[in-house]
Every structure is written in structure tokens, then in C-alpha cells.
Symmetry: C2
Subunit: 140 residues, 2 copies
Amino acid sequence: MELRKVGLKVTHPRLQILRLLEQTDRKHLTADEIYRLLNEQGDEIGLATVYRVLSQFEQACLVRKHMFDPGSGRALQACYELHDGEHHDHMVCVETGDVVEFVDPEIEERLHQIAKRHGFQIAEHSLVIYVKPRDRRAEG
Amino acid sequence: MELRKVGLKVTHPRLQILRLLEQTDRKHLTADEIYRLLNEQGDEIGLATVYRVLSQFEQACLVRKHMFDPGSGRALQACYELHDGEHHDHMVCVETGDVVEFVDPEIEERLHQIAKRHGFQIAEHSLVIYVKPRDRRAEG
DNA sequence: ATTTATGCAAATAGTTTGCACACGT
DNA sequence: ACGTGTGCAAACTATTTGCATAAAT
């Protein structure tokens, strides 16, 4: 059991949140989406608990937290994905909200060099490409 | 006058905020920092006005808004810098909060290719390297 | 004079926290 | 049984907004 491995008691909310993240087709979910999905499927879990559990999971490196700009007025909010051990960056479609993951070793390499050149070492980095479908004639 | 050029009436708050951004040694300021600095120097400007003006400036491409992760518990908040016409990315020191700007044409190029490869075009991107001074023995 | 901007206070949205109770071990 | 986790509601933070007043053209 992954939960026990990271020193967390196996409780219903923790189990359900972990399962949801493992099984959902949308890899990136907000706290509120998780809250709603679980309650829709009959698990009565409080929103505060969702936040607490996600934050514990993040510290235990079970999940990663991202802040994608949702654009067009909507408030900025965090989304979470299962931590697969591999690092990757994200491309977010500003029209559909779809998220695509990618890794580019060349970029990673250059980031290290840039940090080094300035006398730093990388703690982490955040790279998000906000994209639109190609070849649109008129822009909204 | 830059303000008139972008269709904004020349008011005291707008003028003062613009000047502050032009003259400060710290290129990146939060709304609250701007509010405080102005009031310290005697300009009585409301925080709401600071937000409104910054948002207008952003739309007029006079400033750019960034969301840097302030780390260690502090809440996420926006910071603003004068828009110099050139694009650049940021490196933020997680220990001191210092911000360094950089541009890497190779990275920019690859970002375009990655988007293209997936059938997208770039709307914009956000790249922040969170760094620490090099050569620390023990990690916290 | 007319339109637009400002300041204040109240509203909002996401997230966090205190506390009494419930659950996992 | 013990210590931790949970749910609820209230607190909190950054930001936005309604409205009466003030300032810019």
C-alpha cells in the first residue's frame, strides 16, 4: 500500500482520492473537481479534507501540484496529478483546457546551463506553453 | 505621454504607478508593494486603484504580470514589471527572492517546434527557473 | 459639463484552520 | 484505548466590484 509506505494512515478519503487520481482519464484535476467527483460517486468527503490530503500527498511526492492560468477571467487555481517519478512539462490549450505533457532534454539541459552561468543551481522549474489549435483564420 | 498613447487619462495614480515602475531598482513588484511604496512616499492611492491601474496597464501592454511561486507557505501573488517590448523569462532565487531575466533563443525555438508537433501554435508561455546559490553542502 | 477614475468597504474565490467528533491501528 | 484524521464552519489572502465622490478633459 502506497499510503502506508509514505507514513500515512489508510483512511477512506485518502484511499478514494488516490484511486481517483489513478483511474481518471483526465490526469490533471483541481481540488474542487476531485471533491465533486468523489461526492457524485457517493463518497462523502469534505472539501477541506481533499485539500489536506492533496497537500500531504504532495509532500509525500505522491502527487504534483501545478498552477495553470485558466485564462479569461476565471480565478487561478491549483490542479494535481499523480507523480509518476518522471519529470515533464505541460502544454495547455487555452481554448479547450486540454493538457499535453512533454519532455525536452535539450531544454532541460539549457536550463541547467543558464542557472549555472548565473551562479545558481536549479531547485525546480515551471514551464507551461499556452497554445491554440493551429491555422485559425480569425482570432477571438 | 505613454498614458495618452494607450488611451488612458493622465491621472495622478496612473502617473505615479508608472513612474515607480520606471524608477525602482527592483524591476518586479507586487500590487501591495506598489501600494505601500507610493503611500510611504506620500501619494495616497487606494489598493483597489493600484490593482485597477495595473490591470489596465497590462491590457495596454505597458506592464507584464507574473505569478511566481513565493514558496514556504506564503500565498501566491502576482508581480508586475514594465513591458520593455522584448520577451524574456525568469529565474527566481528561492532563498532571496531575487529575480534574474534571461532569454534563450534555442529554448524558444524548441517550444515552437513542440507546439507545432502536437498541432498547436503558441499563444504564450511561462517559464520560471527556481534556483539556489550553487555549491551548498547540506540541503534543507 | 461630462465622462471617467478613485477610494472605501463589502464581496469573491480558492484555500487553510480550529475544534469537537469519528476512525484506524 | 490512543492518536490521528475528518467534517463543518469560520478565518484568511489576494483580488475584484458597487457606489458615491472627485478629478480630468
